[in-house]
Symmetry: C2
Subunit: 189 residues, 2 copies
DNA sequence: CCTCTGTAAACAAACGTTTGTTATGCTCCC
DNA sequence: GGGAGCATAACAAACGTTTGTTTACAGAGG
């Protein structure tokens, strides 16, 4: 009988929340996944909402770290964009449950936590905006690109990965990153 | 005292499901929105799951109709793509609640209904795939486009609209459709 | 009068959570 | 080295509330 840590419970929560949603998950469901009673979870956490906070926090840390790493590379805007795309894919593939919960369930956080997440998400998006703007300024990308909206398009493509990509499918993550970057830069032509 | 129809209840359900999710909505919540008791809803529908079916069905009908209309126009592949994009935006803007529920909550339908929705969604996606393939064949789009994945990219951008677009924002829907079509065809360059 | 839409009250089940207790180790001290 | 003492992690049972749903009944309109 191996005993459980708070971390084990957060991981299991992420999976449940990602699959069935926060409101679609009961403490007893979670207990079943972990092989303990639902009530026993309260020895590790103060309540259900704390688990959502923990899962979402994990994901937002990963995304933030990915953006920081892409910037730290210090190449031209197109290189940074490549790194941002590849990094986002890595987070989504390697931490699918947390990322999915972050994208779909953060809305159900309490006011203050939710505002904090929105802040982090906006900071992350700002890295995309700045990168594209730099690319427009130095002529890598066309003048007249609506930087704000283009960032949203790119993140839309990236975030949707969670809904269709399977690691053992036709494409591996490297092919996906390459193909996606090309689509973003060149479109269908 | 204006009396309610089944339709009124389905509309209210759509809004609630879109905002709080299927599991985050109770029959009493719904009753409050409608100004009646939660239990009174059972005079109109057989159960909560029936409401989800009705809302999702509405949305899928709208999407199917949009695709059919785009094809009926009968222009070249790029014209069809333009119409598909504009039509998708129209559905998402004019029927936001139903569309959002369709995109995010259909997973919680019972097995058979869920499979039916997946079928419809796949048919809809197939229209995008066919259109792009035609464009590749006649030279409108570049050879080497991964048609399957490109369709997913485009639908990813389209479906995410629900998460950020506000009808009274900086862009109206016509500008959005134009900008989005250009991004899809030309990318950042 | 009869159907339809609503209320009122209740149902069993499931919900998040609390409480009291037990089993299992770890650490310190004789 | 072996108890004593304590923290941890779990169970078992119950708490009060909310859930989806059912039943009995009232009023209003065609």
């Amino acid at each position: 009988m191996t005993r459980l840590t708070r971390d084990d419970i957060v991981v299991a929560s992420g999976k449940r929340f990602a699959t069935y949603g926060y409101h679609g998950t009961s403490m007893r469901d979670l207990g079943d996944d972990l092989g303990i009673l639902g009530s026993s979870i309260y020895a590790h956490v103060g309540g259900k909402h704390e688990l959502l906070v923990a899962v979402v926090e994990r994901a937002s840390d990963l995304f933030s770290a990915s953006a920081a790493a892409a910037i730290a590379l210090g190449g031209d805007p197109d290189d940074t964009l490549k790194a941002l795309v590849a990094g986002h894919i890595d987070v989504l593939v390697d931490h699918a449950a947390e990322a999915k919960t972050f994208l779909n369930e953060a809305w159900f956080l309490e006011e203050s936590d939710r505002l904090h997440v929105i802040q982090i998400r906006n900071d992350y998006e700002a890295v995309f905006r700045r990168t594209i703007q730099l690319g427009v300024d130095d002529g890598t990308f066309r003048r007249g690109v609506d930087v704000e909206v283009a960032s949203i398009y790119i993140l839309s493509i990236l975030n949707a990965i969670e809904r269709w990509f399977r690691p053992n499918g036709r494409l591996d993550r490297a092919e996906l990153a390459t193909d996606m970057h090309r689509f973003i830069v060149e479109g269908l032509t």
